[in-house]
Symmetry: none
Subunit: 199 residues, 4 copies
DNA sequence: TATGAATGAGCCTTCATTCAT
DNA sequence: AATGAATGAAGGCTCATTCAT
């Protein structure tokens, strides 16, 4: 069991960072805040992560992976085509709109990426994997059902994700304007409308 | 002179702030940067805006109005139903994805709003007005054409805007994943699919 | 009289820095120490000098100039050839060995220059000017007296300065090993020995 | 094994410290740098040397001894009076001006000694021994040659060393101002000039 | 109206030192 | 004898804010 307190502490720091970032946002979060949340000294944080940037990179990766994992669950073990489409969409919305810490951190760092190139590759891969996952779930089911997409198949998952992300922001600044039901119904209808019987 | 010198200077500061914020983002922009860009002293900025927060509020309002104005142009004086739908969507995409200063500032402050309540009302009204505008353009045309929306009519403009916003972020972190044409075609098809002949 | 409090404060900071550096040395001196000595806040020091390095550059220049000025006085208005040679040497020794603040700072930063290239040009010019000054005093007198140097004339002042500097260090670490009189007599004799009747 | 492992490691640390100090200077060298250079952990360094100061003390002594040893070689086993004076001076110059690690460390810590009393005794003894060495070599030869010094005999070696030290610094900040040949010729001539036939 | 000077809190980072193992 | 983890005190620097002029 020599593989270290070190990794344990590093993990604690990352988790603490996610909590604090979710609460305060990147711009308002200092290493001191993270250290305090992790129950350690500032020096300890620097011992495990040489710079703030290095820590944030790991935080971003961890948060992306967590959101990813929950997304996988969302599409999960559905065996009944379309039966569970609505349920999956609902879960996706929950993860984002209910503002889990990880989803908040991803959203926040996404904005930071506008001005920090180093954050972009991580996020690009995040979107890419998300799109792939949805594709892997959706496309076989379409085929089995004899349906085809009216638009480029690559765009289907991108649209689902994009729409979710975009609506999340609207719901956030004005929670009354969009109910979860509004959103899920809209996406569901839209997805259905974009399909047609294969010719 | 209809405007007091004071108002002119304040305006210059706001415009300078928009340029700098678009370039560097909120987290990396100091009042000194803004003052320098405006060709004034730091003291002058504080004379016109008591705190940084007060300045940002005005900046956000100004930027929202500017994006709004350009959105109005996009839907513009089109008399030919649907003929110009594609063109409008293209313009909307340009304003966001081509990253005009104002659109960038709105996006950046949107992220700040995650942690700063005071910014939210402004942005809520921004989305609200955007949705209203699209509605005012789109709904009469639908009616005239004998078409109806498959989903709640209030959601139609929200979806268009949400999809644009969401896809902009994906295009930003990975420009190769989405071409402007992909995006516009997708939105156009989707919008069309959501309509049906009125029963 | 618009030319500023600023320059006054900057000057005070430099003078304070010289005092503190003379007392503690570069490695042990923080900007906080300097600010405190100057009776200002740390922020004020940074207002006048953007970085510690920039301040040190000015400090070095100021200290060199001060030592220089005292050296000029040392060779001063002597009209009597050689009569005042001894007196001049004594003064030179005093300035260095008595450890005026400025001489200490020059010595300290000279050591820093071993690892900081940016300090070197200033010091090179310092030695250069010192050598020139001595030459301008010494060579005409030699000529007038019908004397010539046994060694390259350019080396004469360099040797005087080098010897002073080198002996200062010995005297410093072991004050009992060298009396001022020892030093001055030695240099005087040596200088005399290096001269010969012009052939 | 005559030496304990402990002593071997301690020696490695000291040697590593000399290399690093020569490269970076005291002010810019951390214990971490030294530990890394020695291929050990920071903890190991502290095991052998309770404080940084204790380590530096040993480093200084070691470096002084090394320079000393090379100085002895320089004056070496020369049996031919004066024949090898020039060669000895050249070697002395090399050791200092060519910047062997040990000479650099001595020079650097000499500057530290300006503000750290504890370093001074070591350096005082260093100068003392250097002077003694030169005396032991030089004075018998003078006697044998029927020559006497024009100045206090104790000062002769001090002058040689002081001049070397002083000129090294000038050569360092402005390498073009002094060639090795300039320096050696000057010292040689000077030394010769200070001698006279014994009366 | 506008400026330049000054402040003080806070930030990221470095580092000598301690300690359990 | 040696290591890695952790600490806490600085250190240099940034920045929003205040204020006399």
């Amino acid at each position: 069991m020599r593989y270290k307190k070190s990794e344990i502490s590093a993990g604690q720091i990352v988790q603490a960072a996610i909590r604090v970032l979710a609460r305060q946002g990147y711009a308002r979060t200092s290493l001191m805040d993270i250290a305090r949340e992790a129950g350690m000294s500032k020096g300890a944080v620097h011992y495990h992560f040489p710079t703030k940037e290095a820590l944030i990179q790991v935080v971003l990766k961890t948060a992306c992976d967590a959101v990813q994992a929950r997304t996988i669950e969302a599409w999960g073990d559905s065996t009944q085509p379309f039966v569970s489409l609505r349920k999956s969409l609902e879960t996706l919305w929950e993860v984002r709109a209910n503002r889990t810490d990880e989803a908040l951190v991803v959203a926040d760092l996404l904005a930071q990426a506008l001005y920090d190139e180093k954050l972009r590759p991580q996020l690009a891969s995040f979107y890419e994997r998300a799109a792939t996952q949805i594709s892997e779930y959706l496309l076989p089911q379409l085929e089995a059902a004899g349906l085809a997409s009216k638009i480029d198949e690559r765009m289907l998952p991108r649209i689902v994700i994009g729409l979710l992300d975009g609506l999340v922001m609207q719901a956030f600044v004005d929670p009354d304007a969009l109910t979860p039901d509004d959103v899920v119904t809209a996406i569901e209808t839209m997805a259905a409308s974009l399909l047609q019987v294969r010719s």
